[in-house]
């Protein structure tokens, strides 16, 4: 059953991805991207990566939909046809994809208990984190306690970036509206 769910979700994901490449209307791409994120997050959770799934849903379906739409507000909604030939980028992507697939051959099997990450410090964290930090979720305790300063720095960077993006979008929009008054709808 687990295999079936993963397989079907992966097939759906490929279908949506191909559609995203094919569709030229950027609004449709944003909607398709939202559907993609929901499917991807469900797949991640089916594979037990609960926190990654949560992030994917929040960032992919929530924040990036809003940000992409704000960006669309400033530009045209139809993708312009490419000026250059697509052959070279296509070949490059295929090559990179093949290299990545080749790289996965060396990875340990999914869920293998004998890998270094599961036998070395990972096991220590699982055993000791509740006693040491009293936080029930191990991922949270690693992020917020063992690596607390690191996470604080990250949060500060993301917060600054978010404010920057908001200021950029807001400033541009107001100027555009003022222009719109003079020229009519462009």
């Amino acid at each position: 059953m687990e295999f079936l769910i993963n397989l079907v979700l992966l097939l759906f994901l490929s279908a949506v991805t191909i559609a995203i490449i094919g569709v030229r209307n950027l609004f449709a791409v944003v909607v398709l991207g939202g559907a993609y994120s929901f499917l991807m997050a469900t797949l991640l959770i089916a594979m037990d990566a609960v926190d990654v799934g949560m992030t994917e849903a929040a960032v992919g379906a929530g924040v990036s939909t809003v940000l992409l739409l704000s960006a669309l507000h400033l530009t045209k909604t139809d993708e312009a046809p490419g000026r250059h030939s697509n052959v070279l980028p296509m070949a490059l992507s295929v090559l990179t994809g093949l290299a990545l697939v080749y790289g996965t051959w060396d990875l340990p099997r999914y869920g293998d208990a004998d890998t270094p990450m599961n036998t070395y410090v990972g096991a220590e964290y699982l055993e000791r984190s509740i006693d040491e930090t009293t936080v029930p979720n191990v991922v949270t305790s690693v992020l917020a306690s063992y690596r607390g300063y690191d996470t604080l720095g990250e949060t500060a960077v993301i917060f600054t970036a978010g404010i920057g993006v908001l200021m950029l979008l807001k400033g541009r929009r107001r100027r555009k509206d003022e222009d719109g008054e003079d020229e009519g709808r462009s």
Binding site: V16, F27, V31, F38, L39, V50, G62, L69, T77
Partner: protein, 94 residues
């Protein structure tokens, strides 16, 4: 076959059918409607998957999804209503 498997299969089938509508369009609104349904079905699938795998704690995530789904849909529609987005004629009408 347990009852959860049956429900999960039914949800996967409907997810597939709804995705056909997302991919086919034809208008952007059809895609938004179907995209909203994809979100709702993922919420359900997530809740059911938790029971299939014997870990009902996954339901917290389903709550997050339910919230994000509506935020995404409303965001898309707000920009439709208030933005002066020149939607291509072939995609705006049905």
């Amino acid at each position: 076959m347990t009852m959860f498997t049956v429900a999960a299969l039914a949800l996967l089938v409907s997810l597939g059918l709804v995705l056909v509508r997302v991919l086919k369009g034809p208008s952007i609104f059809d895609r938004v409607i179907a995209g909203n349904s994809v979100g709702t079905l993922s919420v359900l699938l997530l809740a059911v998957i938790g029971y299939v795998f014997g870990r009902p704690e996954f339901i917290d995530l389903a709550i997050t999804y339910a919230l994000l789904n509506v935020i995404g849909t409303i965001a898309v529609l707000k920009f439709f209503r208030y933005g002066d987005l020149g939607v291509g004629e072939d995609e705006a009408g049905s």
